[in-house]
Amino acid sequence: MSQADSSHNSPADEGANASSHSPAPAKPIQIKVVLLGEAAVGKSSLVLRFVNDEFQENKEPTIGAAFLTQKVRLDDSVLKLDIWDTAGQERFHSLAPMYYRNAQAAVVVYDITRASSLDRAKAWIKELQRQANPNIVIALVGNKLDLVAENDNEEEEISEDHEDNGGDGDGKTRQIATETARAYADELGLLFVETSAKSGQGVVEVFTEVAKKLDLSQIASAGRRGRPGQLNAGNVNVNVLGEGGLDTSDGSIRTKTDGCAC
């Protein structure tokens, strides 16, 4: 499974008041990652590849997957990535703001063989910059490298591992040059990766790069934040109370809402 390269960007070196931080891995830091992008660019396939290391040809539009979870180890920390799928709500431009509002990271996907999908991706990035958490880490991902691998000469590294692309490389042409997308991503300070959910190329990299770029100390402190002197600043755990008479304190079903791994 995926493990982030631990060679750099250590979040443990956070400085100043670090005198007492323990080296033992704490409980996983939960990160909400949202997928965005036009319908049929391969958002779900990308996550299925990352989480289950599998690929379904001719996958139906997303049904039934709310989100998938994958742990990523990063130096001393374990990140639990909750990767939210759009559940098809993007199809008629009906994705709810709730979906991406408090995400710590967004993976915005386009299809390198469909020019319109990059425009849609740019619109999503604009929307994220307007509505989402200001510290959100955004990765721009050009998917479906496998479709163009055979006639893509400028991308040398991608021709290496394409044995499974043999028969059905259907010769679609690339409509978005790597450099065009990269320049756009660089300009806005986004991560940029080209991937193939089908072959797996670049997929783990997307999520590990996202993980490395997250400001973990900021996320951890946001999770702990509560105003001193205010009794009720904390989050509430919502349980089902027993029915019937007064004074039942059943609570047999407990669902925490504050980021614990249930």
Partner: protein
């Protein structure tokens, strides 16, 4: 669009979205349409631009109010109580997973032109100045009576829950007007005195729900039985819409409904939009999509106020204040709520208060809520609306057109939940039985294999 569905849902208010989610989970093929380009319909949470569009003819909001996007103002102010039915639906469907709840800091009641903290439990009530010295023993025996009632039996300690009115029960326990006001308005959260003439069961159940919520709050170290979803109530319909979508519900916002098509007998056929028709056996929608099949039951006054300081005497980031009708010389209670950046519904340094009540005159609505306005201190902006509360004229079982009720003036979601249960029964012929859904990861794992 040009397709056949089991059910088409019009409007993305909370009632519609809950039904959308519940029916989709049960395997129904759902098409969900809203003419607006945002979720929530009448119960959306809106930003400043949307507020000014709605109430100030699209005027530009003053820049001193801060960033537009930092505002999520509830058009219908309500709080949740942990004991209420909606919470059960949220937990059983695991939709709670999408939301983060915060405690409301304080709950107050207006009495003799001052505000007091509402005692949160029966025990606290018995030591509070709101229940008179000579009433304490009597009130205690009323609470003990409720404590020993299982919530279902028809008869309990000589009281007929369905045969005796609440008036009769008050009389039975010798509770005076002050105590009645406390029980009926601060705990059972009735808006007027009509409940006294109705069977006791309703009020007893409400008091129990309140007391259970309060007991849970105490156990969790919260000061009020009320909770609130961060980023506004508008996230509730969005969360249920997501549930529906996860179960293959199709969502189309910004889609005008040109016509609800019926056959010669008046039964539902389909919905026309932009020259296309979507067909289904049944349609569910809010009253705005069926203006000729609904009638007005009440008019609700709501005033949304932007403040730069907490409500005086509450000094809290969030509060509810009940002004019982007897205290203001009205027939209906006035509710005041206040929220702040703690709930992530406005920028730091601002507070959004709402005042609501059922209109009793055709006159100036501000006058009717004057007692509430007076409590707020200096008001930066005030937006006053009077809106009709609609109910359907038919139950839909004949024409397959199922219309929800408008959001009423109550301060919680019990009447919304009642409407959802009622609609579900009319739509499916079955009682709504909530079954615990597997957790979402389990779902996802199942979908992935």
């Amino acid at each position: 669009m040009d397709e056949e569905y089991d059910v088409i849902i019009l409007g993305t208010g909370l009632t519609e979205c809950m039904l959308s989610g519940i029916l989709a989970v049960e395997g129904k093929k759902v098409l969900h349409i809203d003419r607006n380009d945002f979720y929530g319909g009448e119960c959306a949470s809106v930003n400043l631009t949307q507020m000014y569009q709605r109430f100030r003819n699209g005027e530009q909001p003053p820049s001193e109010l801060g960033r537009d996007r930092d505002y999520l103002i509830d058009l219908i102010p309500k709080f949740l109580m942990t004991g209420e039915g909606l919470i059960k639906v949220l937990v059983y469907t695991d939709v709670v997973r999408y939301l983060e709840f915060r405690a409301i800091a304080t709950s107050m009641v207006y009495n003799g032109s001052k505000i007091y903290k509402v005692p949160s439990t029966p025990n606290e009530a018995l030591t509070s100045s709101l229940v008179g010295v000579f009433q304490k023993v009597k009130a205690r025996s009323f609470f003990e009576f409720l404590q020993s009632w299982q919530g279902t039996e028809a008869h309990h300690q000589g009281v007929s829950m369905d045969g005796d009115t609440m008036d009769k029960v008050y009389e039975h326990f010798g509770l005076n007007e002050d105590t009645q006001e406390f029980i009926g308005h601060s705990m059972a959260l009735h808006l007027d005195e009509g409940y006294k003439k109705r069977p006791a069961r309703e009020t007893c159940k409400r008091v129990i729900m309140y007391a259970n919520s309060a007991a849970r709050a105490m156990a969790d170290g919260r000061n009020s039985p009320y909770i609130y979803p961060q980023y506004g109530l508008g996230d509730l319909p969005q969360a249920f819409a997501r549930l529906s979508a996860v179960y293959a519900g199709t969502f189309m916002l910004a889609t005008p409904v040109d016509e609800v098509v019926r056959d010669e007998a008046g039964a539902f056929v389909g919905v026309k939009s932009g020259g296309k028709i979507a067909r289904a056996r049944q349609v569910i929608g809010d009253p705005s999509y069926f203006t000729d099949s609904v009638r007005v039951t009440d008019r609700v006054i709501r005033a949304i106020c932007i403040l730069r300081a907490p409500i005086p005497k509450t000094e809290a980031d969030s509060a509810q204040i009940i002004l019982p009708q007897r205290q203001t010389g009205r027939k209906h209670d006035i509710y005041v709520t206040c929220l702040s950046s703690q709930q992530k519904i406005c920028p730091a340094g601002f507070y959004v208060a709402s005042i609501s009540t059922i209109a009793e005159t055709q006159g100036d609505p501000k006058e009717e809520i004057a007692a509430g306005i007076k409590l707020l201190g200096p008001i930066d902006q005030i937006f006053v609306t009077v809106s009709n509360v609609y109910e359907p004229v038919t139950d839909g079982t004949k024409d397959n057109v199922f219309i929800s009720r408008s959001y009423d003036a109550t301060s919680h979601f019990e009447t919304v939940y009642d409407d959802v249960k009622d609609l579900y029964h009319r739509i499916t012929g079955k009682d709504l039985v909530l079954q615990k859904r597997p957790k979402m990861e389990e779902d996802a794992a199942a979908a992935a294999t």
